[in-house]
Assembly symmetry: C2
Homo-oligomer: 388 residues x 2
């Protein structure tokens, strides 16, 4: 059971959107394939992965540091103990060899991307959908047959303000979504309030609308904004300030009764632990959005879940950032609280299977071995043709 | 005053040493030059920089994300307000465009490396040694004519245990050093104690010996080790555990009376702020080792100093990691507590000027414009020949 080759290509995300912090027109992502000497029904088993939006592709880092460490291994170094599969934890340890602690940035993204391809591979070798594989390995056979999803969008777009936003939200409703997230923090609070009220008008209830400041506010702005929006009783208020400013988060939590959300820009178990220790978040209502594909992969995410549960949190508090099939499998198989989705944005990486219907707040699972990329034709075509 | 070209080359560090976490035989560094249209005495002004040891070269990240953002600027975008120089803060802002908050890893190293070349450039344009330029700009004209330095070494080396260590420490004493730092945390506490006692024997006093665990210990090990070494009254006990585990640091601080040190693996103002908020460190004795060349450069380091001083700390608590001329200039010009040095290791990046003498604990300054690389022949030769 041998890894023959690992391939990477950096592709543009081709998106004209922007949030309160960055615009995505220059954003890239890495796509990765791991080719093995294993076959199912005459077809060579290949694992695929990519990094979530918002951080750049990491092909050079992979080629300079991570691929050589995997190529240096012999087959026995990464086989599972009972020899029937590849062991993601052994490959993970190899990738992190000769890496100092701390400094969790691009390296976490690179490892997370390869980790996705490894889990795709491992569940394909096992002949099971990843969600089922995870359920059996790490969740006592429990899984969720359907997963809560919400439409994350409402980005600031050139020449679109409230009208464009309403059109966009209507399109999510037409797709079957009932919970929508929009961006705030672009600079003008009055415009943000107009956008929030327009969205609420359409969605009908605060619990159907989440907002995301993408870390833009300082302490005072974050608290002031919290006071302004509290009466709307929104689904959640996401990343009010710098994601590593736990003191800011804790101050907001003291001053805001409704749910808060954060975590997509914390890239390691240690950073996640610090959020839980110092962020003042409330296990009974707040949402954690750690994104395995940006933060050392599912191997590290399993440790994060363990840390959460030993700190009095439920894994149901986790609704990962990312909006892709990997996160959907993890949410279903490990029993998380749900999954992000970006309908029509970050395609073909975002979204679910061909023909998958969102009904209210849920999306159904798939039965393909692996993550299920083969059931999303635009994505699998890109992966196959780009990684030849 | 135009930036004509920015060049980068990744070079091997070529070192057989290892600490408790990594070995350095595969380690690389980026060297960078910034070529301008300015001349002094008929010679084109070029700024040079490189990243400190311990993190890998970041040429690809620079080429993919940072250089294009600088090339996209027009001259006026980065000139100082009075038009007599280039403004490092404006270039810094440009480099961080379209970068999300959080995830301070390789990006911080890449920016820090270019930032070094920018300050070399800026002080050359001003016709002043960087330490003097910094003193006038940011320290009311104050500076230290000589800087405390210590010899950081005592790495674990294949086939060398106590004998090799004694030989190494003696060589530092012969070079003029009186304070030496050695590694601990390699796995066997008894060997570490033997190494500490051998070093103390030679150095004569605990205040002449610092030890560095490179983040290797867990909570229990870190505290146990602290209890064992407390009677030696060492200069400092560095990075007992994961650099981002502020709770571990705070626990050690509660259980250990002598000085602690940490910070080289915190790569941003926000991470440094969290250390001060949650790490339980004591402003009257503990040492902070934030390394500008790994953490978004001097631009970010100036903010860190501001944060420290507004939190009741003195800048004298700062003794940066890195062991190079940039840190020496910063220490002298801003009045920090000192500077690391790695005699004979990480050459030609480590060490000071040709013929510079260490006398006891101090090293004297230079009078060359810029950081002074031109006064260290092995280094300037490497920079000039590799970056043609």
């Amino acid at each position: 059971m041998k890894i023959l080759e690992i391939r990477e290509k950096t592709v543009p995300l081709n998106s004209a959107i922007s949030n309160a912090y960055i615009n995505f027109s220059q954003m890239t992502a890495s796509i990765v394939s791991i080719v093995t000497d294993q076959y199912i029904d005459g077809e060579q088993i290949i694992g695929f992965g990519f990094n979530s939006n918002g951080r750049y592709g990491q092909g050079s880092l992979m080629r300079e540091r991570l691929f050589p460490r995997i190529y240096d291994l012999s087959e026995g170094d990464y086989q599972s103990d009972n020899l029937d599969n590849i062991d993601p934890f052994k490959l993970w340890n190899a990738m992190l060899t000769n890496e100092k602690p701390g400094g969790h940035g691009e390296r976490a993204v690179a490892v997370g991307t390869i980790d996705m391809a490894i889990w795709d591979l491992v569940s394909k070798i096992a002949g099971k959908p990843l969600w089922k594989y995870l359920s059996e390995k790490f969740n006592k056979g429990n899984y969720d047959k359907s997963v809560f999803v919400y439409a994350a969008g409402g980005y600031y777009q050139p020449d679109k303000e409230v009208d464009g936003l309403i059109e966009e939200i209507q399109s999510y409703i037409d797709l079957g979504f009932s919970v929508v997230k929009i961006k705030v923090g672009g600079g003008d609070v009055n415009i943000d309030i107009k956008r929030i009220e327009a969205a609420l008008n359409l969605l009908g209830s605060g619990k159907k609308l989440a907002i995301d400041a993408n870390g833009r506010f300082n302490h005072e702005q974050a608290v002031t904004f919290a006071e302004i929006i509290e009466p709307y009783k929104l689904r959640w208020y996401e990343e009010p300030g710098d994601p590593l400013d736990f003191d800011l988060m804790s101050t907001v939590a003291k001053n805001y009764y409704e749910p808060l959300a954060t975590g997509e820009n914390l890239f390691s178990l240690q950073d996640a632990t610090n959020l839980i220790r110092y962020g003042g978040l409330r296990p009974d209502k707040d949402i954690l959005q750690f994104d395995p594909a940006l933060s050392y992969g599912l191997v590290e995410f399993l440790r994060i879940i363990q840390m959460l549960e030993s700190s009095g949190w439920s894994r149901k508090a986790c609704i990962p950032h990312g909006g892709h099939l990997m996160a959907l499998n993890i949410a279903a198989g490990l029993g998380l609280g749900g999954n992000e989705s970006y309908p029509g944005v970050f395609e073909p990486f975002g979204g679910f299977f061909d023909g998958a219907k969102v009904e209210g707040e849920i999306v159904k699972l798939h039965d393909m071995p692996g993550i299920g990329f083969e059931g999303k034709s635009d994505l699998i075509n890109l992966l196959r043709t780009s990684l030849k």
